[in-house]
């Protein structure tokens, strides 16, 4: 994973996704998304809920393969999930019957490693997320922030080319969130892998991303790609940072007329989607 060649990039080519609604009419969730993510890049995908950003992440992960267009990771078309693409969900999704280290180990079940190599990899990644001493704690004994750290370790332990993060910090309190953002940045720099972070937090997107992709809803489409050419670690009070934030926020504010109805799209009939995605309660799509 050290030699990131050009072929390690992620190419999203004209991707569209629609769900069938109950009355049979299709509902466009993503419309003609094209994006190239460079190897080792940190891309934030920013949008309000319902703009399809999580759906996009699920497509890249290979959890959902029913779409038009092409997603190519390192030269191969995405057809299914892969150990090359780690994922961290908003709710940590740790198995409650396993300890922290067992949860990380669970990700290695199909990795081509010996038992000892697996043990070492688990220990190394537990250390990477700073959870030494909590290897044998069960998820219910961990705080939300610690559980999310375990989830990050689990997402990284297969040494994927890409780590996909689906609003990983949005359920955490502000202090923990800030700490984990710094942590994630450190891990990204240390591991040198590509990360795609989906978030609805403008501050988070700008703080972490090399580029911020803003999305507009219904149908979900890319509105703008903002280059964040600020040195790391970034200072949230840097005037340039503040200016960028204002800019991005203004972008969303200009959209306000639409957003009012956005909360209850289609006359409040958000439910009639046949075959809803398995993102359970978090997002409509």
């Amino acid at each position: 994973m050290t030699s990131s060649t050009l072929s390690d990039s992620i190419d999203i080519l004209h991707v569209s996704k629609r769900y069938a609604r109950q009355d049979g009419t299709p509902l466009a969730v993503l419309d003609d998304i094209s994006l190239r993510v460079r190897p080792g890049e940190f891309v934030s995908v920013l949008g309000s809920s319902g703009c399809g950003k999580s759906t996009l992440l699920r497509l890249i992960a290979g959890l959902d393969t029913d779409y038009n267009g092409e997603i190519v990771v390192a030269g191969d078309k995405v057809r299914d999930t892969s150990l090359e693409r780690g994922i961290v969900f908003q709710d940590h999704r740790l198995f409650p019957w396993l300890t922290a280290s067992q949860n990380v180990l669970a990700a290695l079940r199909n990795a081509p490693l010996s038992a000892k190599q697996k043990r070492d990899a688990v220990a190394q990644h537990i250390a990477l997320v700073g959870l030494n001493g909590f290897e044998h704690a069960y998820p219910h004994q961990l705080s939300g922030g610690m559980a999310q750290r375990v989830a990050i370790a689990r997402g990284l332990v297969n040494r994927p080319r890409v780590l996909l993060l689906d609003e990983p910090f949005s359920a955490l309190d502000a202090l923990t969130r800030g700490r984990l953002q710094d942590e994630l940045q450190r891990i990204w720099e240390h591991e040198g892998i590509t990360m795609i972070l989906v978030t609805h937090d403008v501050d988070e997107a700008l703080y972490l991303g090399d580029r911020v992709v803003t999305m507009a809803p219904r149908p979900g489409r890319i509105k703008r790609i903002v280059d964040v050419a600020l040195p790391r670690a970034r200072d949230r009070n840097d005037p340039r940072f503040i200016r960028l934030r204002e800019e991005v926020l203004a972008d969303f504010a200009g959209h306000d007329g639409e957003r009012g109805e956005d909360d209850t799209p289609h006359g409040g009939t958000r439910i009639p989607i046949v075959n809803p995605p398995i993102t359970e309660w978090r997002l409509a799509w």
């Binding site: 959890l63 999930t81 999704r93 409650p96 669970a106 079940r109 705080s143 359920a171 923990t176």
Partner: protein
């Protein structure tokens, strides 16, 4: 955000009880850091207030029978019940009756549980089985077990075979229903995690679905144990042949020996309580580590 947090709270009991607490600085949560507290002595741990009512009832009973206010052979004194109990224990009658009942309960429980696990897994895993057997099973569930007694007695007689069939049915229903429900209730989020790590179908079943469904399956086993004990009494009462604690009760009532009836009632109660305590202890041992909620 606030909505998300609110919804999370519903999940909180299942997954992470500390999600909602403010964990400034990722503090070590109390549950993990807390050392085992020294246990208080038994006498201080038990709440004795619950004993007031039974003790008062026995005292009144004793007072009435001693005062000879009621002249009836149906009112026996506590002393007489104790004497009968002693006689039953010493003569081996109690042992004979109770072991016969427990043997029946055990065989019915084992057969019913195995059948229930098979049926429940089939209903849980196989869409074909759900389509084919599901509606019949759902209808069957609604029929009171005792409605089968006439059929069972015609087919299997009044002996042990008939009783074990009845007990097996009593145990099968809760196990099958809870196994199936447990499998269906596995959060799809977990299944997605397994997909992300490329689990095979077998790995998914073994490493995700079964552990996730285990608490529900255990609830089914627990209910099966209790139901089959209740059904043991019912079977002995309605399929009268052979020995058992139910037959002790019948003998007592036919001979107007209330002391024997009361003794039988106490034995039934204590046995039920013991089975319950056993199941709870096993459950605690199995799930204590996994979640605080399950241990309670």
């Amino acid at each position: 955000m606030s909505l998300a947090v609110f919804k999370r709270s519903a999940e909180a009991s299942k997954q992470s009880t500390n999600t909602l607490s403010c964990d400034c600085g990722d503090n070590v949560p109390a549950a993990f850091a807390r050392a085992a507290r020294p246990r208080k002595p038994l006498i201080a741990r038990v709440d004795w207030r619950g004993a007031v009512l039974p003790i008062a009832a026995i005292a009144i009973w004793w007072a009435i029978s001693e005062a000879h206010v009621v002249k009836s052979g149906l009112l026996v004194s506590p002393a007489q019940v104790l004497a009968t109990a002693w006689q039953q224990i010493v003569s081996g009658a109690l042992f004979k009756a109770l072991s016969a009942s427990l043997a029946r309960e055990a065989s019915g429980f084992v057969i019913g549980t195995l059948g229930g696990l098979l049926l429940g897994s089939a209903l849980g895993f196989s869409r074909l089985a759900t389509r084919m057997i599901g509606p019949s099973f759902d209808t069957f569930k609604q029929i009171s077990l005792f409605a089968w007694i006439p059929l069972i007695s015609v087919w299997f007689g009044l002996g042990d075979a008939a009783k074990v069939v009845f007990l097996s049915l009593a145990a099968l229903l809760p196990v099958a229903a809870h196994t199936c429900d447990g499998i269906h209730a596995v959060p799809r989020a977990y299944i997605e995690v397994a997909r992300a790590f490329r689990y095979s179908r077998w790995q998914l079943i073994r490493a995700v679905i079964l552990p996730a469904a285990l608490p529900s399956i255990f609830t089914g086993l627990y209910l099966a144990l209790i139901y089959s004990w209740l059904a043991t009494l019912g079977a002995e009462y309605l399929l009268v042949a052979g020995s058992g604690i139910g037959n002790t009760l019948i003998d007592g009532s036919e001979q107007f020996r209330m002391d024997l009836v009361l003794f039988g009632v106490v034995v039934v109660g204590v046995t039920g309580w013991a089975l319950n305590a056993l199941a709870r202890a096993v459950e605690r041992a199995m799930f204590a580590r996994r979640s605080q909620a399950a241990a309670r």
